[in-house]
Symmetry: C2
Subunit: 228 residues, 2 copies
Amino acid sequence: MTRKLYELVGADPTRRFSPFCWRSCLALAHKGLDFETVPWRFGETERLAFAHHDKVPVLVDGERVASDSWAIAEYLEANYPDRPALFGGALATMRFVSAWADGINPALVRLIVSDIPAVLGAAEQDYFRSSREKRFGMPLEAVTADREQRLPAFRALLQPLRATLAAQPYLGGTTPDYGDYMVFGSFQWARCVSPFRLLATDDPVHAWRERMLDLYGGMARLVPAFPH
Amino acid sequence: MTRKLYELVGADPTRRFSPFCWRSCLALAHKGLDFETVPWRFGETERLAFAHHDKVPVLVDGERVASDSWAIAEYLEANYPDRPALFGGALATMRFVSAWADGINPALVRLIVSDIPAVLGAAEQDYFRSSREKRFGMPLEAVTADREQRLPAFRALLQPLRATLAAQPYLGGTTPDYGDYMVFGSFQWARCVSPFRLLATDDPVHAWRERMLDLYGGMARLVPAFPH
């Protein structure tokens, strides 16, 4: 197989935990395209030099390379137009979903960041802790210290998703599309790195996350994760 | 002309200020469909009994009636399929934009609600003040007392819109679609009822609002409003 996706992993190379890599994994599965994961860890920027990029995901599809999850989605849509559409014919509107999905992560990281070092190898732990503590200006444990109190605000942030799911099973309608994958990526990130439970079990977003975990033979359920 | 749109107006019948009615106005203009506004004021529920509905917008299109702005958009898309598409082929994704647009209004109303009575007639003022003060549990002036302090949070809420507009001139892409009309409706509501300035002049959302005001011969610019 020549199709390879460089993905962020933890100490365990099967713990693929990047929200953006999950967007690309599910986009490839949506298109029915086989691929191999190439495990990549924080700090291994030289290994991506061939792609002129310093972050994953990076897709290598035969002779072609695409970097950045949005660019990979556009690449797949342009190069595999006969496969199921990722954007449902509405690239422009999907950009808005993308911008909204990106906006979840700054709130989410503050609920889970202190749990991340434990899933990393020793070398990546040092890099991760020092770079993130510099970004937040405090120890990671201080960032998440009041996470129980901030959970209602996080759940409120999900209201547009919740309201949409009251009318249809997926953001894409009766079947999932790239909008679902973008948003789900963030939840998959959380469950791969943190035992902190984000969603009430009676939340329609919880039921949607379960449906997303079942897609494509349960591909997102099969990686190491915490029970949520 | 047999096509009529019942729209909320103030004491001045040309001050059409409902965010949801503006969604329908612009949807009709997008489809190139002429219509007459039928002025409607708070409390005139009996006048809508024919539509089995108690709120505007209500569209009367010959023998057919559609109530509620989302239903009106679906009606227009279904009955005028040869006209420009409102949903860009992605009804499902548009529902998410709708849910997000609806979520702006609870934050927005708390910035402008105390200005609304001044644009209403005497009878509607009493209805509006008592119903809204009951809802908020305080005088309208108390609701907006700290609006300057809450303005940064409101502007932060617009980040997904702002990020999308960095990539394209409209939510709909190179041309506006129903996503733009839903979000713009809220801004048009604000400028029709309140002098409070919501947007910094260097905000890309401000430039987008100007483009929206220019659409269809400046139809949204032509109603009585405050300089913003």
